[in-house]
Subunit: 206 residues, 2 copies
């Protein structure tokens, strides 16, 4: 059926190799974790050889980095929706935190973040993509905050600074959630982040 799959013989060319590999990598990471996912296992999942995966990506580090980027890109529409939703900015901050945080323990996107952090000093190339992905979150958070500022919801606050602080806090909570620190939950983290935001942004009740 699928175009190009042809004549019942062994198919050789992969269809959209990168896409397929990234998808398979994501699943494998969700199952085993980044360190435990082997090139051989990933290859098996897309029906090819370990050497071939590296032909496309060059190294396991690159595979994981591209998988991180790929999983981050899937979050862009949700953030855009949040930014265009209208309504109070403050009321949208919990949802922003919800998008930022892992879905729960072993969320593959966040497993990748933590893994990649641990490899960045050894492989400096990893840092650039991270900075890029982080900047996207920063920009969107600042944009959301600016909506609130323009609407007069907030006290006069440096929004850039607040974004840096809130995201640092969210990184800390995310790490705890994804590695399964007992008691670390999405709900609790969202509550903490929201409480911080209210306190930092809302004009003092005077």
């Amino acid at each position: 059926m699928a175009r190009g799959q042809a004549r019942g013989t062994v198919r050789r060319r992969l269809e959209r190799p990168r896409e397929q590999m990234l998808e398979a990598a994501m699943e494998a990471i969700a199952e085993y974790g980044p360190a435990e996912m082997t090139m051989a296992e990933l290859a098996r999942r897309v029906g090819t050889s370990g050497g071939h995966v590296l032909y496309y990506f060059g190294s396991k580090d690159q595979v994981l980095l591209e998988t991180l980027r790929w999983s981050e890109e899937k979050h862009v529409p949700g953030r855009t929706a949040l930014l265009t939703a209208g309504g109070s900015a403050m009321d949208r901050i919990p949802a922003f935190a919800g998008l930022y945080l892992p879905e729960g323990t072993a969320d593959p996107r966040w497993l990748l973040w933590v893994h990649v952090w641990g490899r960045t000093l050894a492989v400096p190339a990893l840092g650039e993509t991270q900075a890029e992905l982080d900047l996207a979150w920063h920009r969107d958070l600042v944009a959301l905050l600016e909506q609130g500022a323009r609407a007069g919801e907030f006290a006069p606050v440096d929004l850039e600074d607040f974004s840096v602080r809130l995201r640092a806090m969210l990184d800390g909570f995310s790490t705890q959630i994804v590695i399964g620190v007992p008691g670390a939950t999405r709900e609790g983290s969202i509550a903490h982040a929201t409480a911080y935001a209210r306190q930092a942004l809302l004009p003092s009740p005077a």
Copy 2:
């Protein structure tokens, strides 16, 4: 000179094997990073064999975990000094943050934290020690805050909650500093943490 080293022949028994190994591990981690430090290299540094290191620690994960604990324990006196220093609690918060944060890029203690995070799901035993070490920071921060609260420095605030939030934020900054995110510095992070603390804890200027 050193006692027990004796008669110019090959020394066999190590003196305080754990101590020596932990010290050597710390140095090796500072040089290569936790992932790149091999059992063979660590063994070479203490003049023994790779198998012997594992005789003492059981696994590389354990070596790294114990090294983390060891490096954390070296911070206890500094924290205790801070707690007993007297004076305004708020004024001591920047110093607390300074103790918490990495000394700079590639600080081995923080390389270990990040590394261990990445292995916790695969090796759940790692979680317990982390929780213990984290609790020590939490307790000391809360103790410091309670001094401030008793002295009437602060608005009525849930100190436990604040400690959770501030440490999450510091974890985020620490990660950035240790992996060398451009622009992430101790000084900037201390300033952020301090600004947050002032805003969260001090009574509104009314």
